[in-house]
């Protein structure tokens, strides 16, 4: 432990004490427990939390979610809210994969109903849903169409036969980030996105067929129509090359802006501009375009997955009860209302590897979930499980309405590849757990091996005990597609 610097507040909350000598404007808050905190403190993560705490206009604290780990610039699992007048916006606080996120689609099938068809279903999805570089895309958009996607988000897919209207209410912001303005997106970004709408990408992105293996909260599960042994589909993807290019473009712009506005940076990856400056507003609007692209992307992907179900079972998606439970983005900056020291404030909340976790009754939650809080979807590794949780009122005061976003890596990609053979892993997951894994790259698969990740059960337990979100259901993978 770093002497005197870290204070244990309770069993699930640690504080990095405010130290003005280090340039901190606010303290750091880490949600963890005695078992995991040592690992957090051993990494350089603490410095990253402190660096974020030093940015101008940060409000209350620099937060670290239970899955915190060392990244570049902002830590992964970092949450920071900035005053709109005094504070900044930072592309590094969102990351390259803008609006990377997860969605879950429910079906009325029980595992036993489709057990024998999973292999073929997964193969069909693998063949027909584009994955990324080297595979053929299904859409190629004109300039005009790109403009519309960036402006309308998931709504565009509904008007263009690759999305479902009834899904929109179950996507954050109803599927459209209203402040988006394509005028601030570069030609290079448009070109990278043109053929990538409706493609999965690689790395930790996936399509999984899952089975509900445990229910923790019957009421919330009932409202989401989730039951034991039910088959669900989870999709994890983001804004693809378009978002990556928006991030690259604005990191460069912000290098100059930081100098222009005299912002002292401890790490160039933290480059930022005042939220209300020309540079800040342009980034916010360009980022909004990438958010729209990501939401449209996940809607396209799930539309095509649903089509494979329809072909396989010769039934309409409605007859199979296929509906979107919810779609969340876990790399994003958004203007939100929060109450700070009994005062209502408009803040720009950066979540980099953190999920919004609004509690019951919040105005941004769809009507049917108002009573239980926003669904919080936490994907785990491909061999163990994922979770559906709900947001809490406590999260509003504890973490700016935020919770964790995944398991967090344990092994680097290089050491995972050294220790694990992708083809062996694929066989082992099938032999020992009955999980069907399809992937283009076996070395990519090794990087994503379950052993390379922390046990997500530990992470969600901290999130629940710290009051950031509440467990609803635990899901086990049946079939996994990796890009």
């Amino acid at each position: 432990m770093i002497d005197g610097q870290i204070k244990k507040i309770n069993d699930y909350k640690f504080e990095i004490v405010l130290d003005k000598g280090k340039g901190m404007n606010v303290p750091g808050i880490i949600f963890s427990n005695d078992k995991l905190i040592e690992a957090v403190l051993q990494e350089e993560t603490i410095n990253q939390v402190i660096n974020v705490a030093s940015l101008p206009g940060i409000v209350k604290a620099s937060y670290a979610m239970p899955d915190i780990h060392y990244g570049y610039g902002f830590p992964i699992g970092g949450v920071a809210a900035f005053d709109l007048q005094q504070g900044v916006i930072s592309p590094g606080g969102v990351g390259f994969d803008i609006a990377c996120g997860v969605r879950v689609i429910k079906t009325d099938f029980e595992y036993g109903d489709i057990k024998n068809k999973i292999q073929m279903l997964m193969e069909n999805i693998f063949m027909n849903v584009p994955k990324g570089v080297g595979t053929k895309g299904r859409l190629r958009l004109s300039d005009r169409e790109m403009h519309d996607v960036l402006l309308k988000g998931a709504l565009w897919t509904v008007n263009n036969n690759c999305g479902l209207e009834e899904n929109l209410a179950h996507i954050e912001e109803n599927g459209t980030f209203l402040e988006a303005d394509p005028a601030h997106v570069s030609k290079e970004a448009l070109q990278r996105g043109r053929e990538q709408l409706g493609s999965l990408g690689s790395g930790n992105h996936f399509i999984e067929l899952q089975k509900v293996c445990e229910i923790f909260d019957k009421e919330a599960a009932g409202i989401m129509d989730i039951f034991e042994n039910q088959v669900l589909i989870m999709v994890h993807s983001g804004s693809r090359g378009l978002g990556h290019q928006v991030c690259s473009d604005y990191l460069k712009i912000m290098q100059n802006a930081s100098l222009k506005y005299n912002i002292n940076l401890k790490d160039r990856q933290l480059a930022c501009a005042p939220f209300n400056s020309a540079e800040g507003m342009k980034y916010y609007k360009a980022m909004g375009c990438a958010v729209n692209f990501a939401m449209a992307n996940r809607e396209c992907l799930s539309y095509w997955i649903i089509q494979e179900f329809e072909k396989m079972f010769s039934k309409s998606y409605k007859k199979m009860g296929m509906e979107l439970i919810y779609d969340i983005s876990h790399n994003v900056a958004k203007v939100e209302n929060h109450i700070v020291d009994n005062k209502k404030m408009n803040l720009c909340v950066h979540r980099k590897g953190a999920t919004r976790s609004f509690g019951p009754g919040h105005e941004s939650i769809p009507a049917d979930y108002k009573k239980i809080g926003q669904p919080v979807i936490i994907p785990g590794d491909m061999g163990r499980y994922s979770y559906i949780m709900t947001g809490t009122k406590k999260a509003m005061t504890e973490s700016m309405g935020s919770s964790c976003h995944g398991a967090g890596r344990l092994l680097s990609r290089t050491s995972a590849k050294r220790q694990i053979n992708g083809s062996e892993l694929k066989k082992e997951l099938f032999r020992e757990k009955g999980i069907i894994v399809l992937a283009n790259s076996m070395s990519g698969l090794a990087e994503e091996a379950p052993q390379a990740y922390k046990d997500i059960a530990d992470i969600v337990d901290i999130a629940e005990n710290a009051g950031l979100s509440k467990k609803v259901a635990k899901l086990k993978p049946l079939g996994v597609i990796k890009g």
């Binding site: 570089v133 043109r194 990556h244 690259s248 460069k252 160039r268 990856q269 890596r409 050491s415 990519g444």
Partner: protein, 156 residues
């Protein structure tokens, strides 16, 4: 003098890090690109490449570091939009050279990158790189050995 290695891949928990070397700044840029593409993809079987896609890249920047990031970004851009796996990199010209760097704030380079159109029968795509980061990005020169070196962290 020969370089003992062009680049190495370094353990980094969340993302991917490479350390590239060069006897001069041109070679450092070439080896950084080599390192990045070693992460992106490879030929499935060892055989002579049929390198027929050639791109001339011209970029500007406010520092060597910014130029390095822009160079790698440009290669990623062509990799993704033109579906090219690059194998060979040659810096044609570099302004200013290191002796005038202090007096000239505008940096630029012209380079040639050659590769093949991606064909999954022939190539294996290993990692999708989202972008190079500025995190702890400093080009340093080992005065004794006259070797340039840089650590680059990529978001993957």
């Amino acid at each position: 003098m020969t370089l003992s290695k062009e680049f190495e891949v370094i353990d980094y928990t969340s993302d991917v890090k490479i350390r590239a070397y060069g006897r001069n700044i041109e070679e450092l840029f070439e080896n950084s690109a080599r390192g990045m593409f070693s992460l992106i993809g490879k030929n499935k079987k060892f055989r002579l490449n049929n390198i027929d896609k050639i791109f001339i890249i011209k970029i500007k920047g406010a520092s060597y570091e910014e130029l390095l990031v822009s160079w790698l970004e440009k290669l990623l851009f062509y990799h993704e939009t033109k579906k090219i796996l690059f194998f060979d990199f040659k810096i044609i010209s570099f302004f200013p050279d290191k002796n005038e760097a202090d007096i000239n704030p505008e940096y630029s380079l012209e380079a040639k990158a050659s590769g093949e159109r991606i064909d999954l029968k022939k190539h294996e795509i290993l990692t999708h790189i989202k972008g190079p980061t500025y995190h702890n990005l400093n080009i340093i020169q080992d005065i004794k050995n006259e070797i340039f070196e840089v650590n680059i962290i990529f978001d993957v």
